[in-house]
């Protein structure tokens, strides 16, 4: 498999171009353009309400955009609902985790894509076996496969949400604050996982408020403010302080490519 990396000038895995969406007259996302290459981790940064999660939900099919185009491997695609997104190999770990609290881990992992026996009934045993396998990779101490996820700890719930996203061989992974509920050790595990997935050629969009973690894991950052893109930069070309300046003041430093939201001086 050839890797169309950004440096090689290949086709982006995902290209979101000129995306806008309004809710009741408020432009939540305003002509934003972002792209993502295979094996790349792109951090989306910005204040609460900057439009990061909304932009990402357009890609994952939870919201329908007003304008703009989505291209995957250079081809224009229609994403009308979460099912369409999953068909294109886009998996999402939502900030709210989006778990059905009353059913167990295996049922959540396979929700919407259940394994069936040859009689068309649920193959719970096979699903539990797969769940044990993937959870063993993420969280080896996890034992509570028979309990509803409501009774699990925050970290365990988060690992269920992450396991669901990687179970189906995603090509594009969206992580909306994936480590928000995790302790230091689990956060490190997620970091290792991200590097491993990256090595497999998966493209990852990551929303995170922890600037250190972003610099540690991401190749590029995209900063948003008031629904607009302030700028895009390789993490090698900018300092943490410069990125904080982009987030807070909307100032685009020399090492970054300015977007429509950059403050002009």
């Amino acid at each position: 498999m050839t890797m169309h990396t950004r440096e090689a000038g290949g086709t982006p895995l995902v290209a979101l171009t000129d995306i806008s969406i309004s809710f009741g007259g408020i432009k939540a996302v305003d002509h934003a353009s972002v792209d993502l290459y295979p094996g790349e981790v792109v951090g989306l940064l910005g204040h609460n309400g900057a439009g990061k999660s909304t932009l990402i939900k357009i890609l994952s099919g939870a919201y329908k955009r007003d304008t703009g185009s989505i291209k995957i491997n250079g081809e224009e695609v229609r994403i009308e609902n979460p099912r369409d997104a999953k068909d294109y190999g886009i998996e999402t770990i939502y900030q709210t985790l989006a778990l059905a609290d009353n059913v167990d881990a295996a049922a959540n992992l396979f929700l919407g894509r259940e394994k069936l026996t040859r009689w068309g009934t649920l193959d719970d045993v096979a699903m539990e076996a797969d769940a044990r396998r993937v959870m063993g990779r993420l969280n080896p101490n996890f034992r509570r496969f028979k309990e509803p996820v409501k009774s699990l700890s925050g970290g365990q719930r988060q690992s269920v949400a992450i396991a669901r996203a990687i179970l189906f061989n995603a090509r594009i992974l969206i992580m909306d604050e994936p480590t928000a509920a995790l302790g230091p050790q689990e956060t490190a595990q997620v970091g290792d996982l991200v590097k491993q997935l990256k090595g497999d050629g998966i493209g990852i969009f990551m929303i995170d408020h922890d600037i250190h973690q972003v610099f540690d894991l991401c190749d590029r950052v995209v900063v948003m403010k008031n629904g607009q893109v302030v700028g895009t930069a390789n993490v090698k070309d900018v300092t943490k302080d410069e990125v904080l300046g982009m987030i807070i003041a909307g100032k685009c430093p020399a090492g970054a490519v300015p977007g429509p939201g950059a403050v002009k001086d």
Binding site: S60, A62, N81, P82, R83, K86, T92, Y94, T96, L97, A98, L99, A100, D101, N102, V103, A107, L111, G112, R113, E114, L116, G120, T121, L122, V125, A126, E128, A129, R143, P148
Partner: protein, 444 residues
């Protein structure tokens, strides 16, 4: 896992933890639901209470007799069938107030079909009349339910309002259909579906069904065990499997003995003897009722609905939607279409229930099914279905229906009048939900 690391020299991994009592350990190992046990206990209390009260107040305990319990089983059927569907409706955080009216409407359609339409088309007493009628009744119910579901899912009208409208609408429609008349008598074969001496399967068939059910339990236990072995998952202890199998079989065979020890009334036996030309011996002829057909219908519905709720993708989606509608939508489930299917299924069960209810009365009246919605919802809720959504079981709802019917029957037997019956049923519903809230609060 509870933390027992401070305990020195733990020898076995499955040992009872010190703070766990005998009963809790027993329940955990057999995987018996505590709530189920509580409901069975409450039911026994009601039964024994009414029986003893009858003995003291009237000098005769009429409750725990084969005759009463057999009748109880027949009377439970109609509400029980609908309660299994109501579980799915309530689990998805909806409600259906129109079930009684849908029942009345489809009963009226079926009555007109079998009494006024079909005899003209294919002849009076044609053996296909009951089949066509039943299929039509269930289909009418399903269509009405699907229409309600469409309004709820795609037009986003709250289910409470849609089905409140439906409650009035379909009651009015059934009045319009027959201009308020009662249609009776119904087709002879059709009326067997309501039970009665001829609408029961008799002693031999009851024994056969009972034994088949016992073998079914054994097969389920063995299949479950081998499945879990195949993937090397933890197994229930062997004694627990035996215990569950034996208790289950004992209950089934006990039920068979019960329905077989209720004989046909003397008058019916005489009619039957005259019709078939056998002579009745000196001491009378003992002909067992066996299982009534509506009870068998309820059991089949219960098994089918349990299968649907726990073993199919549809059932999984129903519970996931109830637990977190947004998550279900984000997981790619077409939640609207599932909602339509749930209401359609509820409607179909109302149609089936209409078969049982009208066949039992051998007529369709304009008031058939009035207030049923309340008993059905009460049965589901008493059976542990949470109005907050996401939680509920089919067997619970059927047990809930038995509890509701036991209360009513018991109060009639000991001579309470209608006003007191309503007061008691209303209070029981509220208290049951309160106890349930307490239980859930403690379980957290």
């Amino acid at each position: 896992m509870s933390d027992t690391s401070h305990q020195p020299a733990k020898t076995t991994t499955t040992a009872t933890t010190p703070q766990e009592g005998m009963l809790t350990s027993f329940l955990r190992k057999t995987e018996i639901d505590q709530r189920l046990l509580g409901m069975v206990g409450a039911l026994l209390l009601i039964w024994i209470g009414f029986h003893v009260y009858g003995q003291i107040a009237n000098g005769f305990g009429a409750f725990l007799t084969p005759r009463n319990l057999w009748n109880l089983s027949v009377q439970t059927a109609s509400i029980g069938i609908m309660a299994t569907g109501m579980v799915l409706v309530i689990v998805t955080r909806h409600i259906d107030l129109s079930v009684g009216s849908i029942l009345g409407f489809s009963a009226m359609v079926m009555a007109i079909l079998q009494v006024r339409v079909l005899p003209d088309l294919i002849g009076i007493g044609h053996p296909m009349i009951w089949v066509i009628t039943v299929v039509a009744g269930i289909a009418i119910g399903a269509l009405v339910g699907a229409f309600h579901g469409y309004l709820v899912a795609y037009l986003a009208i709250p289910a409470f309002i849609v089905t409140l409208g439906g409650l009035l609408f379909w009651r009015g429609m059934s009045y319009m259909l027959a201009r308020g008349e009662t249609i009776s008598p119904l087709d002879q074969t059709f009326s067997l579906l309501g039970g009665g001496p001829f609408g029961s399967v008799g002693a031999t068939v009851s024994w056969v069904l009972g034994i088949v059910a016992c073998l079914g339990i054994a097969a389920l236990i063995i299949a479950g065990r081998s499945q879990r072995k195949r993937f090397q998952f933890p197994l229930r202890p062997l004694w627990a499997e035996w215990f569950l199998g034996l208790v289950g079989s004992a209950l089934i065979l006990g039920f068979v003995v019960l329905v077989n020890s209720y004989p046909w009334p003397v008058g019916i036996v005489r009619q039957y003897a005259e019709a078939t030309g056998i002579t009745v011996p000196e001491g009378g002829l003992f002909i067992s009722h066996g299982f009534a057909i509506p009870v068998l219908i309820l059991i089949v519905v219960g098994i089918a609905m349990t299968f649907l709720a726990t073993r199919t993708q549809f059932g999984r989606y129903v519970f996931a939607i109830g637990g977190n509608p947004e998550a279900a939508e984000l997981a790619g489930i077409n939640t609207r279409w599932v909602t339509v299917k749930i209401f359609a299924l509820m409607g179909a069960l109302c149609g089936l229930s209409a078969v049982v209810a009208s066949a039992r009365l051998n007529s369709a009246t304009n008031s058939l099914g009035t207030l049923d919605e309340l008993y059905v919802i009460a049965a589901a809720v008493i059976g542990g279905t949470s109005l907050a959504g996401g939680v509920g079981t089919i067997y619970g709802a059927i047990l809930g229906a038995v509890v509701m019917q036991s209360l009513q029957t018991g109060m009639i037997l000991i001579g309470f009048d209608a006003a007191i019956q309503q007061i008691v049923v209303g209070s029981v519903l509220v208290v049951a939900v309160w106890l349930d809230t307490l239980y859930r609060g403690r379980a957290k």
